[in-house]
């Protein structure tokens, strides 16, 4: 995903979440993770590149603030496990970076920006299987826009966003895009 043609607030559609709302959604998800995992013990956060990675780090920082707990955090690239590789030219790989403690026996929370068809998450589950055997795997997303094509659902959702398949949802994060926002537009750019 290059810098060109990336949506700018106000030009490429409607902002449905602003920076403040994203912050609140992440705060809530951080609390929910702590509740559901009984205090965040043995939790590992793995972000899916590109934008899942900064989200995972933000969640880890939030959990650290609330409980003084250092949650291991990493990234999991799913490119090599995707089911649509043959539909597009070969693409550059993202980074897979596991915390030194690994994933065996842990509760892994996968973190991504948008949940749509569920195919990325399917690829992530396959990629994770090759890296170890977590005790449980959960899924946290900032936006769930519906239109699932696989039996997958998120455990933690920042915002449920009913969309039509014609629409595109873009999550912008300060770490990557210099601003925080969730945009919805109606032009068929791949998300």
């Amino acid at each position: 995903m290059g810098a060109t043609g990336y949506p700018v607030a106000g030009r490429d559609g409607l902002a449905v979440l602003d920076a403040e709302e994203i912050r609140r959604a992440l705060t809530r998800i951080a609390h929910e993770i702590l509740e559901r995992t009984h205090g965040g013990d043995e939790v590992v956060l793995l972000g899916i590149p590109t934008r899942g990675v900064p989200l995972a780090h933000r969640l880890a920082a939030r959990i650290g603030e609330f409980e003084g707990l250092e949650v291991p955090c990493g990234s999991l690239d799913v490119t090599m496990h995707r089911d649509d590789l043959r539909l597009r030219p070969a693409r550059a790989l993202g980074r897979t970076d596991l915390p030194p403690s690994g994933v065996d026996g842990k509760t892994v929370v996968l973190v991504d920006d948008v949940l749509y068809s569920g195919r990325t998450v399917r690829a992530a589950l396959d990629a994770l299987t090759d890296l170890g055997r977590p005790r449980a795997v959960q899924l946290a997303v900032l936006v769930d826009r519906g239109h699932r094509e696989l039996p997958i659902r998120a455990d933690y959702v920042g915002k449920n966003l009913p969309t039509s398949q014609r629409e595109v949802v873009h999550v912008l994060l300060a770490e990557v895009d210099a601003q925080d926002a969730v945009m919805i537009g109606d032009e068929g750019r791949p998300s």
């Binding site: 043959r86 070969a90 790989l93 090759d130 890296l131 170890g132």
Partner: protein
């Protein structure tokens, strides 16, 4: 990227960096419990080796298998080629078997280029005569970058790194591919060789030339020793192996004149005691074992980028 990898000259700086960055990500696979990715499931890679080369063939085979491709090894010895089949007929046979990629090693310069005109799949040149061996250059560049650039050299070129390539440049496809690729990546390449072992048109290559090794050592970040190819030494290129070794061999005394950070590369197989002394080959500066490991990683990156996407990438890009 183009559909075939025939020459290091086919690679733009962007292409080369994409391959190195992809290899960087794939390198972590070697430390994982399951060293395999499903990416090329159902694709077929044919290793078509008309010349003996155990290490290159095994390297490509390991790379293809780690990406879950099916591998067919075809070596000329004891095959239909020994019965007089032409390269073209062999190619058409492989084509009919549905090869998605053909990795070819041949004693004739240009064989890979010819093959690319006959088959539908991607062709990867694994050494053609004295012409080119682009994946060797890629793995050398990858080794240099990992060692001399910051821990994750992602996106970085080799700008300003001084590389001295020593020995039989005339017969070396490794040298030619390295000069082209390393200069594309911004390195300053010097060839150090006796005049008899330099090609005629070397002044058109993007590199400097020196007839002596000793003057180049103190200013080299990388020294790449080429194998003295006894099988190609058909004329009197130098008076004796001993004299060659004394003037162009890398021994402990010469190694001591290198800067502290400098590393030593050799494409293998080595002639210990000829172009490289045993104590150099076994020293901490020697990257020869790393080169082998990096070879698998780099070839995985090449196969992934050629085969991992849509079947007709030229239509899309």
């Amino acid at each position: 990227m183009k559909r075939h990898l025939i020459s290091a000259a086919d690679l733009s700086r962007g292409d080369a960096l994409l391959i190195l960055d992809t290899a960087e990500e794939l390198a972590s696979l070697a430390d994982r419990p399951i060293k395999k990715l499903p990416t090329l499931r159902g694709r077929t890679v044919v290793n078509l080796f008309f010349e003996d080369s155990t290490r290159t063939r095994i390297s490509f085979e390991a790379a293809a298998k780690r990406l879950s491709a099916d591998v067919i090894n075809f070596s000329a010895k004891g095959s239909s080629v020994a019965k007089g089949e032409s390269l073209k007929d062999t190619a058409l046979t492989l084509e009919a078997m549905g090869a998605d990629a053909v990795v070819i090693r041949h004693s004739a310069s240009g064989a890979a280029h010819r093959l690319a005109g006959w088959v539908r799949g991607s062709v990867v040149n694994a050494g053609d005569g004295t012409h080119e061996h682009p994946t060797q250059a890629l793995l050398d560049a990858f080794t240099i970058r990992r060692k001399l650039r910051a821990a994750s050299g992602r996106g970085a070129g080799l700008d300003g790194i001084r590389v001295t390539i020593v020995g039989d440049v005339l017969h070396s496809r490794v040298a030619r591919s390295n000069v082209l690729l390393l200069s594309t990546l911004g390195a300053e390449v010097t060839l150090a060789a006796p005049p008899t072992l330099l090609p005629l048109a070397v002044d058109t290559w993007p590199c400097a030339v020196s007839y002596g090794l000793d003057t180049e050592l103190p200013k080299s970040d990388v020294v790449m020793m080429l194998r003295v190819q006894q099988e190609r030494m058909t004329a009197a290129y130098f008076p004796s192996v001993r004299e060659y070794s004394r003037r162009y061999g890398l021994d402990a005394a010469r190694m001591a004149r290198l800067p502290d950070h400098a590393i030593v590369l050799h494409p293998g197989p080595m002639n210990r005691g000829v172009e490289i002394a045993a104590e150099v080959a076994d020293s901490a500066r020697s990257m020869i074992v790393e080169q082998v490991a990096n070879g698998v990683t780099t070839r995985m990156a090449v196969l992934y980028l050629l085969l991992g996407g849509t079947e007709f990438p030229e239509v899309v890009s």
